[in-house]
């Protein structure tokens, strides 16, 4: 069966980008990816845009991006599954190539969030819970993950300090990433003493809303090999869902969609969690990274707090190096761009081009991108030749 390879990557600067429209952000990432791939624009026979439309005034975003990138008349479409929209774009591009319909597809994740106020974003994001029975009580996105955190602490003895350690790690790597929103280290004390958001989560347990874009160019095996340079292959794609409502989940200390998506991706790529050297996981909140260690099988269920406490997820820590680009926490989380940004980092790592934050001898990498509060999870496994 034909493989799908990554031949180009591009990444814009994440942050409050009051200097640019969403299509201008998309252009930055696309230009870099096209130059990286070293192909002509006319070789791209489709694009897929990952973005969440509610944040933009522009209706039907794919059209405006396609025009601004001068990709007409090639087809384009938008994928939306909340914060996993970028990985949904990756998956549909992969499907398009696997099916033989397309040969080279540009995947562009882009999002402008900061034109809305924080309370507006809190209201919008909180409505990713079920609006009929939950949002009427003023639920928020941090509020949902806070309830996961309390449940995890109760079941496994996870501590606030362990949560804070996740933020400390991700900030330490964000400081090394020129594309990150926050580029400074923090201490555990600073994280623990920050303002409460939704107990037990404080400001430093939460990622920041941001603007930004990332782009990956995928190609069929023939086209990727003809391309000449070293290719990173997207060999395993997993995707699963879980109930919209927290009232209908089996438990609130794990994301069942992540467990299922990981198993699918491992199976397809014929690898297991022990074969992975580097992973990008969806740390929208500190507790989310701890649950990801467990859901992906990097450690036993309930041991995620110890995993970070023992620094296993640091480079050279003896486990899987996680979020060494700063993660959502320090890099910023422009929701539609995030899944594609994760892919960019993994490809960089497998090419050995991640410089100061390079994971030694990275051969297998993984992305774990969660939509909403685990309603959708995409796990993708990458390998190099």
């Amino acid at each position: 069966m034909t493989r799908v390879g990554v031949i180009g990557i591009g990444h814009g600067i994440f942050g409050r980008r009051s200097d640019a429209t969403v299509q201008e952000l998309a252009f930055e990432a696309f230009r870099e990816a096209l130059a990286d791939a070293g192909i002509e624009r006319k070789e791209i026979d489709a694009s897929v845009i990952g973005s969440v439309p509610e944040y933009h005034k522009q209706r039907s975003l794919a059209g405006v991006v396609q025009e601004y990138l001068n990709l007409n008349p090639a087809p384009t479409w938008l994928t939306e599954v909340a914060c996993a929209s970028g990985s949904a774009a990756m998956r549909t591009a992969w499907m398009g190539i696997k099916s033989g319909v397309h040969q080279i597809v540009a995947v562009i994740g882009c999002q402008k969030m900061t034109e809305l106020s924080t309370p507006e974003i809190l209201a919008l994001m909180g409505r990713v819970g079920e609006v009929q029975w939950e949002s009427i009580f003023g639920t928020t996105f941090p509020g949902y993950y806070a309830m996961f955190a309390h449940s995890h602490m109760h079941a496994f003895g996870t501590t606030r300090r362990q949560l804070a350690e996740v933020a400390v790690k991700n900030h330490s790597y964000g400081a090394l990433n020129p594309k990150a929103l926050f580029r400074k280290e923090i201490t555990v004390e600073k994280a623990l003493e920050s303002e409460p958001v939704a107990s037990p989560l404080h400001v430093y347990d939460c990622c920041a809303n941001a603007d930004g874009a990332a782009c990956v160019i995928l190609a069929s095996e023939d086209r990727a090999r003809a391309h000449g340079r070293k290719v990173v292959w997207l060999d395993g794609v997993g995707c699963a869902t879980a109930s919209m409502s927290v009232l209908r989940r089996p438990n609130l200390y794990s994301l069942p969609s992540a467990v299922e998506a990981a198993q699918q991706a491992y199976r397809m790529a014929e690898v297991g969690p022990r074969d992975v050297q580097v992973a990008e996981v969806h740390d929208c909140f500190s507790i989310a990274e701890i649950m990801a260690y467990e859901d992906l099988g990097f450690c036993e269920k309930g041991q995620g707090g110890r995993y970070i406490e023992e620094r296993k997820s640091y480079i050279g820590g003896g486990g899987v190096a996680v979020n060494v680009d700063g993660g959502l926490k320090a890099k910023g989380h422009p929701i539609g761009a995030t899944g594609v940004s994760m892919a960019v980092e993994i490809v960089k790592q497998l090419r050995g081009a991640a410089e100061a934050r390079q994971v030694p001898d990275a051969r297998v990498g993984l992305t774990h991108n969660v939509g909403g509060i685990g309603q959708y999870t995409f796990v993708h496994v990458y390998r190099k030749d």
Binding site: P119, V131, Q132, T140, G143, H150
Partner: protein
């Protein structure tokens, strides 16, 4: 009448709209599928198991145990005036779960996962239009006309 339900209501039209009327009269209702008997809370009109669209409202005692909770400091639009507030998810004795605010019978420092709770129907009396809800209270908390009559 479902627009009565909640401080801010996002879904006024639903097949289980009578739920809000029952709540106003002091009754907490779940649903039971007429075809296969599947019982759940919150109520739903269409059975997820056998696909039947025939259901009855059934009484819920409101007794349950706290599954998890959070105290929200950073509130969304429409809730700034009540922040901070504490939300709990309760495993109900008769099946299903319920998400709601903690009421005045429980102090913040008393909140513990696993604690017994009573879901109590509430009418927001200070608001002119009808607004109904439910809150999480100490077991044995009395409420409304239903209890006064009993």
């Amino acid at each position: 009448m479902f627009e009565w339900f909640g401080k801010v209501n996002f879904s006024p039209y639903t097949k289980v709209g009578d739920f809000a009327g029952f709540l106003k009269d002091g009754y907490l209702k779940g649903s039971r599928c007429r075809a296969c008997g599947f019982k759940t809370f919150p109520p739903r009109a269409d059975c997820p198991q056998c696909l039947s669209g025939e259901f009855d409202f059934v009484d819920y005692s409101g007794r349950g145990r706290l599954h998890t909770y959070t105290r929200i400091a950073a509130a969304p639009n429409g809730f700034e005036d009540v922040a901070p507030y504490t939300i709990g998810v309760v495993d109900l004795e008769e099946g299903g779960r319920c998400l709601a605010w903690f009421g005045s019978t429980i102090r913040e420092e008393e909140i513990k996962i696993g604690m017994e709770l009573q879901v109590v129907p509430r009418i927001f009396e200070e608001i002119e239009k009808i607004k109904v809800s439910y809150s999480l209270e100490k077991p044995g908390t009395k409420w409304g006309r239903r209890h006064a009559d009993a």
